[in-house]
């Protein structure tokens, strides 16, 4: 049983990362109905920028962190304004191809610019605030289960971002305007909301969330131009599983996928399933869920007037 809970905890940590990326996807999908295939590469690019910043600021992680998130947000906003805006209102597949183009650009420019060996990336170092120590130590022991500190950090970050976004969307006028835009762009424009600006902010927000995910993934997998590819695909699965228009669904979907993937790897027969097939089995589970609920667990069914 101890082993079981250990697997669950590790799955929850991985799942939080998938959930964060899925959240980034959902933020864009909700407002523009674009599946952003470049999300992972944007996060990877931001992490490389963060790495550059880290060197410039003498390895002060907590100086770099906000700067990196801001730079990522700027990158996201810029991308929306320059590349995505011209195809606004185009058929969905055209926009998908545009994001695939962005994928090619980010991925290749990064691998050209920051060539060489995979770069080690630091985990968030410990800080002392009001006599309390954060982010430090070896591991947390809960009964027989060991929770690695970086895993704990990941889960805490995911929870914090979720809460912050909830507060932002529910209790600020900007958040309200963004929700209105997502709900009905035409009416929002008539009410005086600058719809275009809301979309830019949505992309910026999403890129910032993605960057946080990138910063947390990089210590685990090392910093390379391919580091986000797997995570992005899992994030897609998570977002779809949770329902593409639901931020809560994204996180829940991520957790479900992280845990089930770990359990499938650990507890299915090795001869014909086992760890190599964990992705396949997870995808089958998602397919079954989709067949029962075609718009994901938390997704709303779109009603259309004919």
């Amino acid at each position: 049983m101890a082993d079981f809970w250990q697997q669950v905890v590790v799955g929850l940590a991985t799942g939080s990362l998938y959930g964060l990326m899925a959240l980034a996807l959902v933020l864009i999908y909700r407002s523009t109905h674009v599946l952003n295939f470049a999300q992972g590469e944007m996060a990877m690019f931001s992490t490389f920028l963060a790495w550059s910043i880290l060197i410039r600021v003498d390895n002060h992680y907590w100086v770099m962190f906000p700067l990196a998130v801001l730079v990522a947000a700027a990158l996201g906003g810029l991308t929306e304004r320059v590349v995505v805006r011209p195809v606004e209102g185009a058929p969905i597949l055209n926009i998908v191809i545009v994001t695939l183009g962005l994928y090619a650009i980010f991925s290749n420019v990064a691998s050209w610019r920051w060539i060489g060996r995979p770069k080690p990336f630091p985990t968030p170092p410990e800080i002392h605030v009001a006599g309390l120590k954060f982010f430090g130590g070896d591991a947390l022991h809960v009964g027989p289960t060991v929770i690695n500190y970086h895993d704990l950090t990941i889960m805490v970050f995911a929870a914090l971002i979720m809460v912050a976004l909830y507060l932002f969307f529910q209790y600020t006028s900007l958040g309200l305007a963004m929700r209105a835009t997502a709900h009905n762009p035409v009416a929002s424009r008539l009410m005086g909301i600058r719809v275009g600006r809301m979309l830019t902010i949505g992309w910026a927000l999403s890129a910032a969330v993605g960057a946080v995910a990138g910063l947390l993934i990089a210590p685990i997998v090392l910093l390379t131009s391919a580091m986000m590819v797997g995570a992005l695909l899992y994030a897609f699965a998570a977002a779809v599983l949770g329902g593409l228009d639901s931020p809560v669904g994204a996180i829940v979907g991520g957790l479900i996928i992280g845990v089930s993937e770990n359990l499938v790897g650990a507890y299915t027969p090795q001869e014909w399933l086992g760890p190599e097939m964990k992705l396949t089995v997870t995808l089958c589970i998602i397919l079954v869920v989709l067949l029962v609920r075609p718009t994901g667990i938390f997704g709303r069914r779109a009603l259309r007037r004919v």
Partner: protein, 432 residues
Amino acid sequence: MRRLAPLRTSTVVIFGVLAFFLLWWIPFSHVLPDVVPLRFAPYRTLEASQVAVWVIVAVGLNILTGFNGQISLGHGAFVAIGAYTAAILMVDHGWPFWTTIIAGGVLAGGVGFLVGVPALRLTGPYLAMATLGLALATPQVLSKYEGLTHGNQGINVRPEVPPPPAFIKDWFGLSLSRDEWMWFLVLSIVLIMLVLALNIVRSRIGRAFVAIRDSEIAAQAMGISVPRYKTMAFAISAFYAGVAGGTYALVHEYIAPENFNITMSMNLLTTIVIGGLASILGSVLGAIGLVVVPELPELVFNRIPGVNIPVELSWAFYGVVLILIMIFAPYGLAGLFHRSVRWVSSWTLRSRAGILVGLVVGVATTMVVGFALGLVAFLVTTAWVWAPPLVGVGARGYSRWIGALTSPLASAGETEAGPEDQSSQDHPDAER
């Protein structure tokens, strides 16, 4: 017996031009004078065969996505089924090559039908995700069940293809190399599949597909059985992918699980959107474009002494071209072509000669405009990347990168892919 759809003059001319281009120019270009930069290495013949395989899948996917409106990100899986069926039948059971191609197509079509049934419940991004799952699972399944598929070591296919008939040598004085003869075989498969596709999309079935795409409810009201035609579209499309897979095994002579990764499915979708949705011509143009565009910088600029473009930038350039085409030619290359034909023919005389002139000029315009767009895009990318670094610190040089869309996605089946994954593949649990 249903009559073949009447061939429109424009279709004949278009495919005539294409056939001439593909049939003569590329395979025999090494005997032609040195007039264009894009030519002459014998591998071009092989490349042309690869484009041809690509054309077959693209046409099939376009029937599903362009004509019927169902997005599939999983067509690589059907190509894999066709390729593996053909290869296993050829290598392990000694079937003649042409029967294996048909068998591959039929089996893939059957699987496509089975996938099409649950797909009825899903739409848009949810369908895209479900089919994406198919593409993701394919390499894993292929490498896991080694007894049937030979696992990660792949299958060496040495097809016993009959030699070129004697009349080619007797009448035309040409002795074909293996690649060149293969090219003619593949081209004939392509032509059969193209004619078939043209007839499908212009028949009752094709019109039903389009009606369903535009409005399921209206189609239903007209008496079209929506589930029947939607699954049929999946089956036909998968059949095309299966035939292409068999041809793929024939052309490449070696198949392995990683050939059929998610990259292939993504590239297929790109092909049809870039070429033009709901256009057979578009599928052909898109397939050619997808192969030619990433090579343009190298072909054009690396001929200038002192200029050497790293391969990563060629692929970044490809990304820029994708975006530019989507912004300036939302209906793809086929749309660009039709628009330029219409534009020219509006001020040529409304006579046959005028239309012919219009067509020729249209082809030329499409090529020139496409190339100019590409050139601008490339200059912009270069300027952007070569600009003084703002925050970058990496040393410049060349890595052994094999193109973005190949490498990073190649390991997509693994969690959190990265180069260090190569080592962790043996211990999938040890990755954390």
